[in-house]
Amino acid sequence: MFWRRLKYWKVRAQREESLREEMELHIGERAAQLRDGGMTPDRALAEARRQFGNMGLKQEESREIWMTRLGSELVQDIRYGLRAMAANKVFSAMAILSLALGIGANTAIFSFMDSLLLRSLPVSNPETLAVLNWRAPSGNGRDSVVHGGSGSIWAAQIDRTMNQEIILARLCTAFAMVALLIACVGLYGTMAYTVARRTVEIGIRMALGAPRGAVVWMVLREVFALAAAGLAIGVPVALGASRFIESFLFGVKPNSPIEVVLAMAILLSAALLAGYAPARKASRIDPMIAVRHE
């Protein structure tokens, strides 16, 4: 029901127009019938409208059926997420912290990665560089980058400088990956623990008729709540970390907000994946076994 409502929300302008047209056609059909019964067209239309009732009011009622409950369901979800987090403070705090760390580190590093690896060279005016085929007197030929074509810098020296940057970038990537992994493992652990602890409760819910999808959603909305809290802490951390990185990398600026958003999206989907496994497991609980499980 939630998805049908969400779908409606997306196309509600069309749906309202469609409903209005449907009602008009209904009135038209009634009027045609009344005309066949001998009424003048004007009177037939007026009578058809009178029989139909207040169209605007009926439209309003139809709209409310789809909309108001969507809002209240959302509020319910948020409250449920908060309650679940409060009931399980230590684990929630751990999950939120690992997520915040993961999100913060990744977003900060990701936003520099592009410029660090692809764009910048450790010189002040990269656009004035020229590629020269340099042939050293000793005889070993080599392609290299030389400033302004002056030929005063040895190829090996440039390589060394670049190497440092690349190693730093690789280290940062590795660190970000590990942080992401830890965040996901932390989240998975928290959710698996929650599901195990609530086996009886989930069993009772299913025995009372909760469908599988509702159980999956119940666990996932807790994941969402944790991820949102992680994001709330992680994003300021990321911004702070960006400043910090900026201060010791010369001439490198963090990239556009799009990349930051992309990094967060990757993090969120990873968190969702980590949370989906325990959610699925929860939905496979056999109520008969779960209720006896004490």
Binding site: E22, H26, E29, F52, G53, L57, K58, S62, I65, W66
Partner: protein, 112 residues
């Protein structure tokens, strides 16, 4: 018009059941549903035409019916509704509930 047919508000919720029952016989548009209910009740039940549409929206939201734009048998454009499998299940549920209710009322009315 003569005698005024009764409006269907004596049993709350029975409109949903009547719509589902109507659609379980054949796919129809809103106007067709009103006509069918009126005719098959010998003009005793008259659905308030406007109220039909919020009810249809509610049934659609619950996934019991599905509406799609098409043509009626006499070539009028209309949104034609079709009952779903979940709708048939719901119809069975409401029919049983309704039978129990009317039986209970009949018992009270027949009590000495």
């Amino acid at each position: 018009m003569g005698r005024k047919p009764q409006k269907n508000d004596s049993l709350p919720g029975s409109l949903d059941m009547l719509i589902l029952r109507t659609l379980s016989r054949r796919d129809l548009h809103g106007y067709g549903i009103v006509q069918f209910i009126q005719q098959s009740s010998d003009d005793e039940l008259l659905v308030e035409e406007g109220s039909l549409y919020p009810a249809l929206q509610r049934l659609e939201l619950n996934g019991w019916i599905e509406g799609e734009w098409g043509l009626t048998p006499n070539k009028r454009k209309a949104r034609i509704y079709r009952i779903t499998a979940a709708g048939r299940k719901q119809l069975g549920l409401e029919t049983r509930k309704y039978a129990k209710l009317t039986l209970a009322i009949a018992r009270v009315m027949g009590a000495e």
